[in-house]
């Protein structure tokens, strides 16, 4: 087990171009599940590949367990990685796939057998030992890839979107399973995903990346409730945070915090607005309302409200109602830098 640290890590693929990863400072905690979250092209996979040693950094340092590993090959870093495609060796049986890292380390046959059985029992794939990867389902392949990664008890566990090839239903259960599994073996894990639900559900901490840079690092609650800038505010949450530009500041509040006046009141100061509903989407458990605010500081601004379906009575398209948002739920962003600024009065 080890801590992974990057110092001003930068990767520029083509000289003169913008870096794929720019000055990233990151430090995992012992046994932590750290999620790198960002849209495609945000540099999260490149960052992971640099930690794995599959990509050479242009500048900056990578430390594993306090030691600079920039010049070490992947095999010398004692890391394990699960690839998006799983990258199972197609010509080897499941058993031989799993023991491959052990063979490379020169572990003797009896020990190999023992460790492979241990890894397989953790993932429940012992009965698949003699199959070839092409004879496995997507979920089974993913388990074999995980088993191959943990079998030699690596110091760090890297995962590159390992659930993205599974269908939606399987993904939810695999997510839960993988998370529990990491807690049990206690190995530091760095997990790359573009799926915010995965990030929120699994991460001890989430690193939000965009255009090669880290926008915010924090617990899922931190990044969701207290976004550091407008990018984080809109990337997390579906529908995204309402951002309303005013003269010198951007006002933001989450759709689920903008509720009919009767539903919203739960103590504390509130801001009330007349909300004209233009159209709505019924999503079963909840209702998404699109409309504009009438009067006040936010006059004619388009916003979205997300309310439980149980409170939807009377909220028809074209009608206007009083909606409210708690003052503590309203965030302010600087108009120039788009970073968070101090709250101010809106009335």
């Amino acid at each position: 087990m080890a801590v992974v640290e990057t110092r001003r890590l930068t990767k520029v693929f083509k000289r003169g171009n913008v870096g794929a990863v720019v000055n990233v400072d990151l430090e995992t905690r012992e046994g932590e599940f750290l999620v790198l979250l960002g849209p495609s092209g945000s540099g999260k996979t490149t960052l992971l590949r640099m930690i794995a040693g599959l990509e050479d950094p242009t500048s900056g340092e990578i430390l594993i367990g306090g030691k600079v590993v920039n010049d070490l090959s992947p095999r010398e870093r004692r890391i394990a990685m699960v690839f998006q495609s799983y990258a199972l060796y197609p010509h080897l049986t499941v058993f031989n796939n799993i023991v491959f890292p052990l063979k490379a380390q020169g572990v003797d046959r009896a020990q190999r057998q023992k460790q492979a059985e241990w890894a397989a029992s953790l993932l429940g794939i012992g009965h698949l030992f003699s199959r070839k990867p092409r004879e496995l389902s997507g979920g089974e392949r993913q388990r074999v890839a995980v088993a191959r990664a943990i079998v030699r008890e690596p110091s760090v566990f890297l995962l590159d979107e390992p659930l993205s090839n599974l269908d939606a239903k399987l993904r939810a259960s695999a997510r839960e399973e993988l998370e529990q599994f990491q807690k049990r073996i206690g190995t530091t894990a760095i997990y790359v995903t573009h799926d915010q639900v995965e990030a929120m559900a699994m991460g001890d901490r989430v690193v939000v990346m965009s255009q090669g840079a880290v926008r915010q690092i924090g617990t899922p609650a931190d990044v969701y409730d207290d976004p550091a800038d407008t990018f984080v505010a809109t990337f997390l949450g579906s529908p995204p945070m309402n951002l309303v530009p005013l003269a010198d500041v951007i006002v933001g509040f989450r759709p689920e915090h903008f509720l009919p006046a009767g539903v919203a009141e739960r103590g504390g100061a509130h801001l009330s607005y007349r909300f004209q509903i233009s159209h709505s989407e019924y999503l079963g458990a909840e209702l998404i309302l699109y409309g504009t605010i009438q009067g006040g500081a936010l006059h004619q601004k388009k916003v979205i409200s997300r309310i439980p379906s149980t409170h939807s009575a009377g909220l028809t398209d074209g009608s206007a109602h009083t909606f409210a948002v708690a003052e503590s739920d309203v965030k302010f962003f600087d108009k120039q830098t788009e970073k968070r600024t101090a709250p101010r009065s809106l009335s």
């Binding site: 040693g53 992947p74 095999r75 990258a87 199972l88 060796y89 490379a104």
Partner: protein
């Protein structure tokens, strides 16, 4: 609709004519000749049964040619296999000038084999050989004891094998290069992360994954080598003392230059069963390569 119905077959006809006239007819004629008594210039045809085959089997030259054919094919294919595997792996890596080197490697295949072989004939010449010139200059051999590459039975066989290997190498390299490119990058990277070094990655991951395509390359090469006589015809004409005589060259010398069409046909017919087996193997491994 009418037009549609005729268009397909019409497109087919040139290919079918080509196969029937240039491959099918000679093939059938070879069978007919091999059981007859046809000679160049003779009139009429008498069926003689298996007489030609019996006569061929009794000939020591024929048995020598069979042996040489196998030596020639197997040795050159082993060399091609090793060389092409190494070359394809080297040429897959990114390095400055890779395109140029790929082009250079392809040259022996692109250039007509006859021109290449004539070049080699001079390189291996008994008097003007540059190889011997170099060997003498670096004092590895004495001036008048230089090897006569094409004049001594063993050296002649080695020479034709090496020149043929030189000629076949690019084709196999290109096939293997295509096979290598088809291996997902992820898998090679996974091997690196799993701790596999240079040789383990190549011998336990890349080579086994290339096996189907290697099979195709080797079998194609073997069929081509087994039926080809260009290099031998130009360099040694089967000599000295038939030491480089192979089945295709013997069939040519007997049937065309020796005017004994029937016996020449009988010699070439001996190749058929072997080639059928090889072709079947090619098709089978090509099919497998597709599946996995």
């Amino acid at each position: 609709m009418r037009q549609q119905r005729w268009l397909g077959p019409a497109m087919f006809i040139p290919a079918i004519l080509y196969i029937v006239i240039l491959v099918g007819v000679p093939f059938v004629m070879a069978f007919v000749y091999s059981v007859g008594d046809v000679k160049v210039g003779s009139e009429g045809y008498h069926f003689v049964g298996l007489h030609n085959f019996a006569s061929v089997l009794k000939s020591p030259t024929f048995l020598l040619a069979v042996r040489n054919s196998f030596i020639f094919t197997i040795s050159s294919q082993i060399l091609v296999l090793i060389g092409a595997t190494m070359l394809s792996m080297a040429l897959q890596e990114a390095f400055p000038g890779r395109r140029f080197f790929r082009f250079l490697i392809l040259l022996p295949w692109v250039a007509p084999v006859s021109i290449g072989s004539i070049g080699w004939k001079w390189i291996l010449d008994s008097l003007y050989s540059v190889i011997n010139w170099v060997l003498v200059r670096v004092h590895l051999v004495k001036q008048f004891e230089a090897p006569v590459w094409l004049g001594e039975p063993k050296l002649a066989m080695i020479s034709v094998i090496l020149v043929h290997t030189w000629h076949m190498l690019p084709f196999a390299t290109v096939i293997l290069l295509a096979g290598l490119t088809a291996i997902p990058k992820d898998i090679v990277e996974a091997a690196a992360v799993d701790g596999a070094g240079f040789f383990r990655t190549r011998f336990q991951i890349i080579l086994p994954m290339m096996l189907p395509i290697i099979n195709v390359a080797v079998l194609f090469g073997a069929i081509f080598t087994f039926t080809d006589m260009t290099v031998i015809y130009i360099l040694t004409r089967g000599g000295p003392y038939d030491s480089t005589q192979v089945l295709p060259s013997l069939a040519f010398f007997t049937g065309i230059l020796g005017s004994d069409l029937a016996e020449g046909a009988a010699i070439s017919i001996f190749l058929v069963p072997l080639l059928v087996i090889a072709a079947w193997l090619v098709l089978r491994s090509a099919h497998r390569a597709e599946v996995t």
